[in-house]
Every structure is written in structure tokens, then in C-alpha cells.
């Protein structure tokens, strides 16, 4: 339960983070005349709040992913977080109006089946060596 909750919040943050970063970067490169200028693009990027929000959400993903690895198997967490690819495809389609090819939808279905199978196995087959932080 703890593992499922942690990973669901993690992959939702990751998908949202990617959406914000994409939105911000597309907005930065579509405005202004100096888009070929590396320095001005970098300045625009660093001063865009959506870039920071997206980056913060990706950091939340990495923190929760590492936390899950403190108690759960890597061979469980890694394929389980692959469901994030499906969320990314869905978010790209619904929030960013990206065209999604049939092969991508098929891939999403195959990943979902794989994640369902993985989630039916026990999340931990080895014990953490360190202490239990309660």
C-alpha cells in the first residue's frame, strides 16, 4: 500500500513536471526574435516560473523514487514506474494536444499489461540493511 501510494504520487508528479516543462519551453522558443541566441534563451528559461515548477515536480519524482527504493525491490519499482510513460502519452494528448500514433497507444496498452503483471508480485524480496526510520 505504502509502495503503491508513493509510486502513484511519483509518476503523477513526473507526468505533470514534463507537461509544465514542455509548455514552458515551447512558449519560450515561440516568442521573441532572439531565440537563436543561446544566452537569451537560457535567461528566458531560468526566469520562467513554469520551468521551476516543472523542475520541482521532477525533483519530487526522484525523491519519492529513491524513497521507494529504500524498502522495495528495484526490479519492482523500475517496471512499475514505467506506467509514467502511459501518463506522459495521455498528458501529451489531452493537455498539450499532441498527435498520438496508433503505435504509441498500442505501446501504452502493452506497458499497462506489464505493470499489472509486475504489481502482482511481492514488492520486497530482500530486506534493507539499515535501520527503520519511523
Amino acid at each position: 500500500m505504502k509502495t503503491a501510494l508513493t509510486l502513484i504520487v511519483a509518476i503523477t508528479s513526473q507526468a505533470l513536471g514534463n507537461v509544465y516543462l514542455t509548455k514552458a519551453m515551447k512558449a519560450i522558443t515561440s516568442t521573441g526574435s532572439g531565440t537563436n541566441d543561446f544566452v537569451s534563451t537560457a535567461m528566458h528559461t531560468a526566469s520562467n516560473p513554469m520551468v521551476w515548477l516543472g523542475t520541482a515536480l521532477l525533483l519530487v519524482f526522484f525523491l519519492l523514487y529513491s524513497a521507494a527504493l529504500s524498502w522495495a525491490d528495484l526490479s519492482f519499482v523500475l517496471p512499475a514506474t514505467a506506467f509514467g510513460y502511459v501518463l506522459n502519452v495521455a498528458a501529451g494528448h489531452y493537455f498539450l494536444n499532441e498527435a498520438v500514433s496508433p503505435a504509441r497507444w498500442a505501446g501504452s496498452v502493452v506497458i499497462t499489461m506489464g505493470v499489472i503483471l509486475v504489481s502482482r508480485s511481492s514488492a520486497r524480496t530482500i530486506k534493507a540493511e539499515g535501520e527503520l526510520f519511523k
Binding site: 505504502k2 529513491s66 524513497a67 527504493l69 529504500s70 524498502w71 525491490d73 528495484l74 526490479s75 519492482f76 523500475l78 517496471p79 514505467a82 510513460y85 502519452v89 500514433s101 503505435a103 504509441r104 498500442a106 505501446g107 501504452s108 496498452v109 502493452v110 506497458i111 499497462t112 499489461m113 506489464g114 505493470v115 499489472i116 503483471l117 509486475v118 504489481s119 502482482r120 508480485s121 511481492s122 524480496t125 530482500i126 534493507a128 540493511e129 539499515g130 535501520e131 527503520l132 526510520f133 519511523k134
Partner: protein, 122 residues
């Protein structure tokens, strides 16, 4: 040839990074608290853990190799190739971390690998 070598660095760096990060986190112990002060203490242990830092170094190598290979190869070729990392990481988890990979988990991981390859095609 150089493309294959770079993709190998991308895949092995990512998988090696995950294995080291897991080793470090398991060494530190199970995090079962949301208390800010406790979490701050754990964070200090994490960023000073040698295995964790080695994992971050491997991941950085993987990321820079990824950027480098994208400067001459197509993303639609590189990205499906990196889906191999799911299988390589699972092998690392089995043989280095001694995790037990059941048949159902293996089958699920292979499906995920196939699905990620499909998603990354153009």
C-alpha cells in the same frame, strides 16, 4: 560502431546507476516517516552515501552519453534501444542486489520493455 558504444554507455550507465542508488538506499534503511526533521537527517545520510553518489555519477554519464549520441543519431532509433535498460536493470537487481525475480515479474518486465520500445517509435 561508436553509436552502439554510446548506446551501451546510456543503457549500462542508467542500469548501473539504479543498482547503486538502490544499494545506497537499502544501506540507509527503510524510510517510514514524514516528519520533516527526521527526513532532513535522512537526506544528509543519503547525499553522503558513497553508493548513492556513485549511482548519481553513473546516471550523469548515461545522460551525457544520451545527449552526445542524439547529436548524430535519430531519437527514434536511440529511444527504443534504451528500453533494453529494463531488462539489464532487472539482471543487475537479480545478480548484484540478490532480488528474487518471479516468473510473473519477469513476464511483466518484458512486456514493459516491449511497450516502451513501441511508444518510442516515431
Amino acid at each position: 560502431m561508436i553509436t552502439a558504444l554510446m548506446i551501451a554507455i546510456v543503457v549500462l550507465g542508467g542500469s548501473g546507476g539504479d543498482v547503486f542508488i538502490t544499494k545506497g538506499m537499502k544501506q540507509i534503511g527503510e524510510i517510514s516517516t514524514v516528519h520533516p526533521r527526521r527526513l532532513a537527517g535522512i537526506a544528509i545520510r543519503v547525499i553522503t552515501n558513497k553508493h548513492f553518489l556513485t549511482g548519481i555519477f553513473f546516471m550523469a554519464c548515461s545522460f551525457f552519453a544520451f545527449l552526445a549520441v542524439l547529436s548524430w543519431a535519430d531519437l527514434s532509433f536511440v529511444l527504443p534501444a534504451t528500453s533494453l535498460s529494463f531488462v539489464i536493470t532487472t539482471l543487475g537487481a537479480k545478480f548484484i542486489l540478490k532480488e528474487k525475480i518471479s516468473r510473473v515479474r519477469l513476464a511483466g518486465t518484458l512486456l514493459v520493455c516491449l511497450g516502451v520500445a513501441l511508444i518510442s517509435l516515431p
